[in-house]
Symmetry: C2
Subunit: 236 residues, 2 copies
């Protein structure tokens, strides 16, 4: 973690601890520089990062303000693998259904930029949030990058292992969303009836160097499918 | 539009016109400076903007690469009001069901930061994509900001009018997603049976100064609910 990333994390903690609300003003730049004893450019970079993350917004000539969601029970769609710890009081567990080395499906090969004969780790698991069925997850990990997985690892946080165990740097992701009706097998795993609503999230995760390493298809229990996204201005 | 925003739009057009694919490398910084005849800082700012938007990714010491979705038929969840024109060949129309000035619901008042006695424009419409039912939309516009709407305006793009007609600068938005079962009235408007899957998108749109001006609840026809989000690295 570089200095400015650390300052960003500390400002986020400050927002959390002081229970600041959407629209609350942060201390001015000079105050933040003095408080953290860092240069203007470090504070500026930290604030830019927080703005990208949707944690603050900057109004020219007016100041820096907090962004916070107003609703309880919504999970960040894009930040659930981010540096923010799991939402407080939320406990995630997994039941591993399948873990094997295999050839990729056509779809997985396409998304992972590999050939039909390259190996992938295929992981299928049901995830639970505080004991409640949250989702069914199928993931394809490019084996040339994610060289080793075992049952113990995939029972826990695979992304933690990828970063800390394999030392890889996770970059951006492409996320596809849609709703539909549960297929019979999905319904069974989620303890719902067939044709019940499904919220599908498919993601392609890349390393910071742009290489895709994981294609994952997650089917959420519709009653657990509350997601939150904070966007930045893309308007011209 | 400032200079760097214009360069960003031109780089995006260049990507489009040359049909560059995910992972394709852009010309180096110096080439872009020469091509557009602008300074290094302008090109850098343009590229940062495109990175924020998820149109490119930068690999330190290696270059700038294109990001593009691989699937057809998915709409940008966060960029559909952006400077990118509507997806080619897509024609949006609206049927206005209701347009009136009223007091906000409790939920709308909360999201718009107004009191129960403040006025809102309430707009309810069904939207069609190439003639197919796309979604049911209910929006609450803060009347103190969106001072005037009429049936003609709400039959077209309200956001176009807000920017061009009222001269307001649209900033960030908070977006809440979930799946569920269609209520009877929603089903009727979407020409689906009750209890069919629904994809709900609720958004609070803010001006660049942070003021919320629109709270909108959109219920998508599940067969038209393909969305795409490009995320940036929020990993530390």
């Amino acid at each position: 973690m570089t200095k400015y990333q650390q300052i960003a994390a500390e400002i986020e903690m400050y927002i959390e601890e002081n229970a600041l609300q959407q629209g609350d003003k942060l201390p001015v730049l000079e105050a933040l520089m003095a408080h953290f004893n860092v240069s203007k450019s470090t504070v500026t970079k930290a604030l830019d990062l927080l703005e990208k993350k949707g944690a603050v917004f900057q109004v020219r000539g007016s100041g820096i303000f907090v962004r916070r969601q107003k609703r309880k029970g919504y999970r960040g769609l894009l930040s659930n693998q981010g540096f923010k710890k799991e939402i407080e009081g939320v406990h995630l567990t997994s039941k591993v259904i399948e873990l094997e080395v295999m050839k990729p499906t056509k779809e997985a090969a396409n998304h992972l930029n590999i050939g039909p004969d390259d190996d992938v780790y295929y992981v299928k698991r049901v995830r639970y949030m505080n004991g409640q069925t949250l989702c069914l997850e199928e993931s394809y990990y490019k084996k040339s990058i994610i060289t080793y997985l075992n049952k113990e690892i995939v029972s826990e946080s695979i992304f933690d292992y990828i970063q800390k165990g394999l030392g890889l740097k996770i970059g951006f992701s492409d996320v596809y969303l849609h709703a539909g009706k549960l297929k019979e097998e999905e319904a069974k795993h989620l303890c719902l009836e067939s044709e019940a609503p499904a919220f599908y999230v498919e993601s392609i995760f890349h390393l910071t160097n742009g290489q895709p390493f994981d294609f994952s298809k997650v089917t959420y229990h519709y009653e657990q499918s509350q997601f939150f996204v904070q966007t930045n201005s893309h308007f011209f």
